[in-house]
């Protein structure tokens, strides 16, 4: 039976909602400082070229231009998120000897207005010597391919291998073996707030303050320290409200570095804001890749072996791409029992803008291929698509050798619930309508430590004041996903008070203990555990005093709830929270009550302490004449443990479905010779609210022992099954098969014609 909570589990509007909807909430992009300058970057028009010379004299002479820097003016630090392996920290402040993608910054300048800065960019003269370039991962690995980074011959940036069981023997014994090859397109995270930073360097103290639209103040502090060759402690990063990240704002980017360098040079604050074109052409995106998958099953649908190959187009730099590559291998197995598994991933450098860990962190391509292939296999074996998933679904306690263990796990109940609800919801289908399913599981934060942090993965500091109000200090990042509300709810629940009693102090490296930031759906579990720990320390002090004052037997348990501390079994016997706080502070020599909590996962495998999971279904109607697919309805059955904020969880599922459907229907980044061809919203198609189907969400509650109050991931998981469920629905409706995402009408029409031709050929053969 689930526990009854006072705060948790109650639909709660975001604590910062009123500020956001009234426009009062400050984002970095809104900020100005006295005497501030405007920075701009000059970017390479070539995908690969030597920098022969840069002449800044004409630009320098333009009135209003205050500083110009090129690669030779930078401290020469190399940076990147893979600090644990320094050779993978492969980015430099500004290109020094050569450029590696169209958009690689070669110079930065600061001027008194944006207009002057733009004009000055045109006056910088750069002489390049174009070099042969490579854009495709298969071409990049050839012996005679141009080398993007000299230290990486054949452009092999990272390789990943996972293997357990005797894969070849299992395939040999399988009743049914199927091999498929896929090509998946890159896609952009398209956060509404573009990358932007404001930097202010204090020449007197040698300290730097940077306000930035980032997913992780700590990552940015580390990246800046590496790039600028400064001590981390001399850099203060402040994260105001952030208008979306989706994985694209984990890395340290040239906006913050160039703003910092220009501020150091001028002694004035400098702000750098990317425009939308820069956002598309020179910031991180979901990696495009070639994939191959082989599955072996018994006649009854039991999976006996699985093999996946992923060759990704990494682009010019590593960022989190190497981690994403590994996770594609991990998520390829979830949520199924796979007795024998082999995964190979290779990430190549190419002369394109680099790809990284966009929402779903490797799970999106993995699920597209595994869930569409499983559907084809089920069809061939004459098994219902939900039944084959139920047959192979993992159970609580399942361990993938050396990789991960599921503790709380309701994937089977989710699948069974889906079967029941889908029958009720869609009792009869019309012609050319179909339902597609895809199951999923996703981490609640990552255990891997590529950033090489010596700090706890998450920390929180709670201070209780004399009037009972609470100051909660945390570096955890709310980037629009609602973590501020979740943080306040967890703190309030643990202390037995309300969220209105809590004031949040957020995202400032000078005033908060470290948290690694918002990625991999980590904040609820990891920061939630840290907050709960900090709050519990304070609560225990109050309970200690209450026990003394009540004089009760030590065997009686006391609880903190509804602004009281009382005997759990005799609620009438208790004391006021407010009175206890006063007594506790007096007893503490007048010092407010404090607790510093922290969380780092230990002995929880390689991936994550916990996994959210479930199954998603989409009903579609296909127009056979035009290839247009109408996504009519979405049904999600979801196990995310104890839901902390039902309103927030719903928002996260809806957002993930929106992004996943975009990946399946329309979002792609075609490139030609390294140039992104659709770098604006006119050509980069994302679904609008009115394009979205209705989404029904059913929670199957579980209690996750590693999560705060039993909570786990609820943010990203549902992006991964959406596109494959969509493709499976089209297959169910008209028999068209897809081995790539982005099911545009022309692609659907072609696949329908192919399916019809195949059907005709089969009937002819039968006759």
């Amino acid at each position: 039976m689930m526990k009854e909570y006072s705060v948790i589990g109650k639909p709660t509007p975001n604590v910062d909602g009123p500020a956001k909807v009234t426009g009062e909430a400050a984002y970095t992009i809104d900020m100005t400082l006295p005497n501030m300058l405007y920075g701009k970057l000059l970017r390479s028009p070539y995908p690969h070229a030597k920098i022969i010379s840069i002449d800044i004299s004409k630009a320098e002479a333009l009135p209003g231009v205050k500083a110009i820097i090129t690669g030779k003016d930078t401290p020469g630090g190399r940076y990147g998120l893979w600090r644990r392996f320094r050779e993978l920290s492969d980015q430099e402040c500004l290109a020094t000897t050569k450029v590696r993608y169209i958009g690689d910054p070669v110079a930065a300048l600061a001027a008194t207005t944006e207009e002057i800065a733009e004009k000055a960019l045109d006056l910088i003269e750069v002489e390049y010597e174009p070099l042969p370039a490579v854009f495709d991962p298969i071409e990049a690995m050839k012996e005679d391919a141009p080398t993007v980074h000299d230290e990486f011959p054949s452009n092999i940036n990272a390789t990943r291998h996972i293997e357990w069981g005797d894969v070849d023997e299992a395939f040999a014994k399988a009743d049914y073996v199927r091999e498929d090859r896929y090509v998946l397109s890159p896609a952009h995270p398209t956060a509404m707030e573009v990358h932007n930073s404001l930097a202010s360097f204090d020449k007197g103290t040698g300290r730097l303050t940077v306000w930035s639209s980032t997913q992780s103040p700590y990552f940015l502090q580390q990246g800046l320290a590496d790039a600028l060759k400064m001590r981390e402690g001399d850099i203060r990063v402040i994260k105001p409200h952030v208008g979306g990240g989706y994985g694209g704002k984990n890395s340290t980017m040239p906006d913050s570095i160039s703003a910092a360098l220009l501020s150091m040079k001028t002694g004035r604050p400098v702000k750098v804001v990317f425009n939308r074109d820069e956002e598309f052409t020179a910031t991180e995106h979901r990696t495009g890749q070639h994939m191959a998958i082989k599955i072996g099953l018994k006649k009854d649908g039991t999976i006996v072996a699985l093999e996946i190959k992923a060759l990704t187009n990494g682009g010019a730099f590593t960022a989190l791409g190497a981690t994403t590559l590994y996770l594609t291998g991990t998520f390829g197995t979830m949520p199924y029992k796979i007795p024998s598994y082999r995964y190979d991933g290779v990430r190549t450098y190419t002369n394109t803008v680099w790809g990284t860990s966009i929402r779903g962190f490797g799970a999106v391509p993995a699920k597209f291929i595994t869930e569409t292939q499983l559907d084809r296999a089920a069809h061939d074996l004459g098994i219902d698509p939900l039944d084959i998933r139920i047959k192979n679904a993992v159970e609580p306690g399942y361990e993938a050798p050396g990789q991960y263990t599921f503790e709380s796990c309701a994937i089977k109940p989710c699948l069974e619930k889906m079967k029941e609800r889908a029958k009720e919801k869609w009792p009869k289908l019309q012609k050319d309508e179909g339902i597609g399913y895809a199951a999923f599981a996703y981490m609640s934060g990552g255990i891997f430590n590529w950033i090489d942090t010596p700090y706890a993965y998450s920390s929180a500091h709670v201070k209780v004041n004399i009037d009972g109000t609470v100051d909660l200090y945390t570096q955890a990042s709310d980037i629009g996903q609602g973590h501020n509300t979740v943080a306040a709810m967890i703190c309030a629940e643990e202390l037995g008070i309300g969220i209105k009693d809590i004031r949040l102090h957020l995202g400032d490296t000078a005033h908060t203990y470290t948290d690694l930031g918002a990625w991999g759906s980590r904040e609820t579990l990891m920061n939630g555990n840290a907050i709960k720990d900090a709050a519990a320390q304070v609560k225990n002090k109050l309970i200690e005093i209450a026990r003394l004052k009540l004089g009760e037997n030590i065997a009686y348990d006391l609880v903190a709830k509804n602004h009281r501390v009382y005997l759990e079994l005799r609620p009438e016997r208790g004391l006021s929270y407010y009175d206890l706080v006063k007594d506790a502070i007096k007893a503490n020599d007048g010092v407010p009550l404090t607790g510093v909590g922290h969380y780092t996962p230990h002995n929880k495998g390689m991936i994550s302490p916990a996994y959210g999971m479930g199954v998603l279904a989409i009903k579609v109607k296909v127009d056979r004449e035009t290839g247009h697919v109408d996504a009519k309805d979405v049904l999600v059955v979801h196990d995310c443990g104890q839901v902390i904020n039902p309103l927030g969880a719903r928002g996260q599922v809806e957002g993930s479905v929106h992004m996943g459907l975009g990946y399946g229907m329309c979002e792609e980044m075609p490139m030609d010779q390294g140039m992104v061809l659709n770098p604006e919203f006119v050509d980069y198609k994302i679904l609008r609210t009115r394009d979205m189907p209705e989404i029904e969400i059913i929670d199957v509650p579980t209690y996750e022992p590693n999560g705060p109050f039993g909570a786990k991931e609820a943010a990203e998981a549902t992006i991964a099954p959406t596109a494959p469920a969509f493709a499976n629905a089209v297959y169910a409706a008209v028999g068209a098969e897809f081995y790539s995402n982005v099911l545009k009408p022309e692609k659907v029409l072609k696949a329908i014609r192919e399916a019809e031709a195949k059907q005709k050929a089969n009937s002819k053969a039968k006759k």
Partner: protein
């Protein structure tokens, strides 16, 4: 139980295939250069491993390591 040591670093593995997996997972120059001395191409091995199902790339290196990485008697 037998163990085999990487010719370029102190890593030990229970069999030569596992050692080949370790070897091709390294990104440093030292490991890559040694392959050339054995007449092997790092890119070719990785290409074979990623473009075909099975362990073709690892197996080719494992066959060489059988000669070059003898059994470790003491760990």
């Amino acid at each position: 139980m037998a163990y085999y040591r990487c010719p370029m670093c102190r890593k030990i593995c229970p069999d030569h295939l596992d050692l080949a997996r370790h070897y091709l997972g390294q990104t440093d120059k030292k490991h890559k250069d040694w392959l050339k001395t054995q007449g092997l191409s790092y890119a070719k091995l990785i290409t074979d491993q990623i473009t075909e199902f099975g362990n073709k790339g690892y197996q080719a290196l494992a066959d060489v390591l059988k000669k070059e990485a003898p059994e470790v008697k003491e760990i």
